[in-house]
Amino acid sequence: MKDSRNTPLIQVEDLKMYYPVKGGIISHTTGFIRAVDGISFSIMEGETLGLVGESGCGKSTIGRGLVGLEKPVGGRILYEGKDLSLLGRRDMKRIRTQLQMVFQDPYSSLNPRKHIFEILAQPMLYHRISTKGTVEKDILKILDMVGLSRNVLGRYPHEFSGGQRQRIGIAKALSLNPRFIVCDEPVSALDVSIQAQILNLLKSLQKELNLTLLFVGHGLGAVNYVSSRVAVMYLGKIVEMGEAKEIFNHPVHPYTKALLDAVPVPDPEEKQKKRDLLQGEIGDSVHPPEGCRFHLRCPYAADMCRQKEPELTGEKAGNGHYAACPIVMQDKGGQDIV
């Protein structure tokens, strides 16, 4: 257990995922949306990496790339050290089941024409994870893990609430004995009271089954709660990455600071405090700004930011805390500037 914590299960190297933009009279590719533009990180076995950022920054695209829904145009994804794109069909089929996903919208993630037993049993039988004789017992075990009872089996998805459906969605992901699960904003479509239940469930399941999670979310509270490490994304790039505590208590990158600043604080006294909210919108991902992608909105932007794209480095911030901002890294090593 201790050992496994230090071996990376997933390694992403310089991952690039572009979507073609069609245009013109004879629809041809006029450009690319650079949803993910050169990202590297790794996820250790048994840890949860949180991925945060504004809508449209490419965080969900990374999740889809990791489970093989979309093909990257550049870079590599290594699973247990093996490049996923180089695997043969048979190896892929085996690994397929080990990488699963929990979706954002629990209403569209279950086939409305099938009852829960069918939804859960069919993939298990296809992959020979259980047999006709044992499948019901196996399903009941999984349902028990996600806090559902056997009476859900004969029902259809529309008979359940959002929280229950998300539990079924988690059960579906778990049913294939995965080692890695991408949670693509799994609670953002749920009521606040239900969110906490689902987050607790994910957390306890992870511990129980020694799962490795990529938790994609824009709710900072939720990400902080479940993640051991956090990566902050802006316009297809990781701008800051480190231990969750570090990121939330000592943010270095101006974008992370702004993101944390934008979280409403339920304290009437705080109302007086003026906030430095970001101006403008997230940039164009077809023609990302030159240099640092954040410089158009950054309060500290200097000349060097407009010219050279900053690297994700960890010199000054220290202890596994990386940031891609030359200004703060140069200055006081992660302390407040200005």
Binding site: R96, T97, M101, S109, K172
Partner: protein, 317 residues
């Protein structure tokens, strides 16, 4: 004072009792649990609300049954010359006899058989072809989509009456040829409909979930996607059924469809091309004409009701 209290208490007791009975009364009414009914039950309940469609279903069932049981019901052989030429309806021949003395009622039963057979078979063929091509085009996209949809456009942009006329002239006109021709003409609509649905469904999370779960393409197409697009296919198929029955009637009327001596509703109308028949012998063309109208209308009503009943978003409970 005590008396007053007693009275009030009595009143209260009465009131409570009254309320109780009301509540019990409510409890006695069986409350249908809408949430727990199956999809089929929901559809049935919604379908029943369309009285016209229910009546139409009964009409189609009766006529279809009569057609199916034609050999049992028909008083005479359809091709047998049993009476006078162009005899008016009488006790012996309920709907009279035709120009060469065959019993119109018997012929009508057999004609309905043929017409329904043509309609149903043509619909089946076009549905199977349309669904298969639509699924392929929608799911695989790219080149497959391009080729299939351009082919669909070609078939759609053909003046199909012309196509049918030419085909009927080239091949020997006959029952199976007409079925094949009509089946070939009607599939593009279904292919487009299915393709559109597949494009939508392919983006849903439950299809993506199945891809992530490593399920085979066959399972995803036929077990996940197809059941979710059956409703619009069914609705569309009813209109194809009505249309192909009309087309068969038109072609047979022109002499290019079902060939005599076999009877179809269309070639029974053939006689109405003559003015004498049209004006003097209405028993020769009113019954088959009426049957076509009734069948086509009934099928269309059923299709309309199905559309409402099957659509989960129609807003009714």
């Amino acid at each position: 004072m005590g008396k007053k209290m007693e009275r009030i208490e009595k009143k209260m007791a009465k009131k409570i009792k009254y309320e109780k009975t009301v509540i019990e009364g409510v409890k006695d009414v069986p409350v249908k649990d809408i949430a727990s009914e199956s999809y089929f039950q929901t559809v049935l309940r919604r379908f029943k609300r369309h009285h016209l469609a229910v009546a139409s279903l009964a009409v189609v069932a009766v006529l279809g049954g009569a057609a199916l049981l034609a050999p049992v019901i028909a008083p005479y052989q359809p091709d047998e010359i049993v009476g006078t030429f162009s005899g008016a309806p009488c006790k012996e021949f309920w709907l009279g006899t035709d120009q060469i003395g065959r019993d119109v009622f018997s012929r009508l039963l057999y004609a309905m058989r043929i017409s329904l057979l043509v309609g149903i078979m043509a619909t089946l063929i076009s549905t199977v072809v349309g669904v298969a091509l639509g699924l392929l085009a929608g799911y695989f996209g790219g080149a497959a989509d391009m080729i299939i949809m351009r082919f669909t456009d070609v078939v759609m942009s053909f003046p199909y009456i012309l196509l049918v006329l030419v085909a009927a002239a080239v091949f020997k006109p006959g029952l199976w040829n007409i079925i094949l021709i009509l089946g070939f003409v009607d599939w593009p609509g279904i292919a487009r409909l299915v393709r559109g649905n597949v494009l939508n469904l392919r983006e849903t999370n439950f299809i993506k979930g199945n891809i992530i779960a490593g399920m085979p393409v066959g399972h995803i197409l036929f077990s996940e996607i197809l059941p979710n697009t059956v409703a619009p296919i069914l609705v569309y198929a009813t209109s194809v059924l009505a249309l192909s029955m009309l087309d068969e009637a038109a072609l047979s009327f022109l002499g290019l469809g079902v060939q005599p001596p076999a009877a179809s509703l269309g070639n029974m109308l053939n006689g109405a091309q003559s003015l004498t028949v049209l004006t003097k012998q209405p028993w020769l063309w009113i019954p088959p004409g009426l049957l076509i109208v009734v069948l086509v209308m009934a099928i269309n009503f059923i299709g309309d009701a199905l559309r409402d009943a099957l659509d989960p978003n129609s807003g009714r409970v």
